[in-house]
Symmetry: C2
């Protein structure tokens, strides 16, 4: 019998952890984080610091606001993280001249030097999944679409 023939209550009745997409995403995200750890340890980065650097490797510079929108993380998460990257000499933080509310963030030369190694990590991850590259890309797009629809609903 197809799940389409069941009421929400009947589906809830049979719901287990192993059928929940939230747990699949949660545990897969953590598994990928564990995969990255040895690589990121070599670079002295945590995973959230890594995705901040990914944006800077792509953009060169940005602002706290743009970074917050892109990563879907609030300033209360990013502020201490960016201060650590600044202390490590990988980024600079400075108030924007035109709008003092904005914080300009830029990668230093030392920060940009990590790009080559850092950008290989996702490629190595894709290889380790045993999926074809096309399969990984399709999965990535469907996950991003699902996330975007959820975020749109929340706003």
């Amino acid at each position: 019998m197809s799940v389409n023939n069941l009421s929400p209550e009947e589906i809830a009745e049979q719901m287990t952890l192993d059928h929940m997409i939230c747990f699949a995403a949660y545990s897969a995200s953590q598994a990928m984080n564990r995969f990255y750890r040895p690589i990121l340890d070599e670079m002295g980065l945590t995973y959230p610091q890594f995705i901040v650097m990914m944006v800077l490797w792509e953009e060169g510079q940005t602002t706290m606001k743009a970074l917050s929108d892109r990563l879907m993380l609030e300033s209360n998460t990013l502020t201490p993280l960016l201060k650590k990257l600044e202390a490590a000499g990988l980024v600079t933080r400075a108030r924007n001249k035109d709008d003092e509310r904005l914080l300009d963030i830029a990668a230093t030369e030392k920060g940009m030097a990590l790009k080559r190694r850092g950008c290989m990590a996702p490629v190595e991850l894709a290889a380790a999944t045993g999926e074809t590259l096309e399969g990984v890309i399709e999965l990535q797009q469907r996950l991003a679409n699902l996330r975007n629809r959820l975020n749109a609903k929340a706003s």
Copy 2:
């Protein structure tokens, strides 16, 4: 040109945050967490506490070891979390009689009473994604497979 015609280095060259499955999983997981928050707030649960309760709603009782394997979380994460659930009167914690190293964990009646509401949450999430139920299930399975292959590679 297909990605199959590119070397890993060439792929890394073009790598951006929006092509990374790790970020799709990471941000989707957090988006789902945000979706759950109002529901879980009503029940007085956080998301990790919720997935612990999901196991207990399914199994009735378990051990720290089994929970750790199932959720892929270590005791250093689960111990304080379970103590909070115990303080809230939702679970009991006791040493196993046959093997004192093991910690038995069981849902109380108060804990089991949350099952009906809790099991609806993933159904509501699936509905909010705009996907068909079959689509969500397929995505869930592919993510779980990817995670399992990554975890197998790590061990």
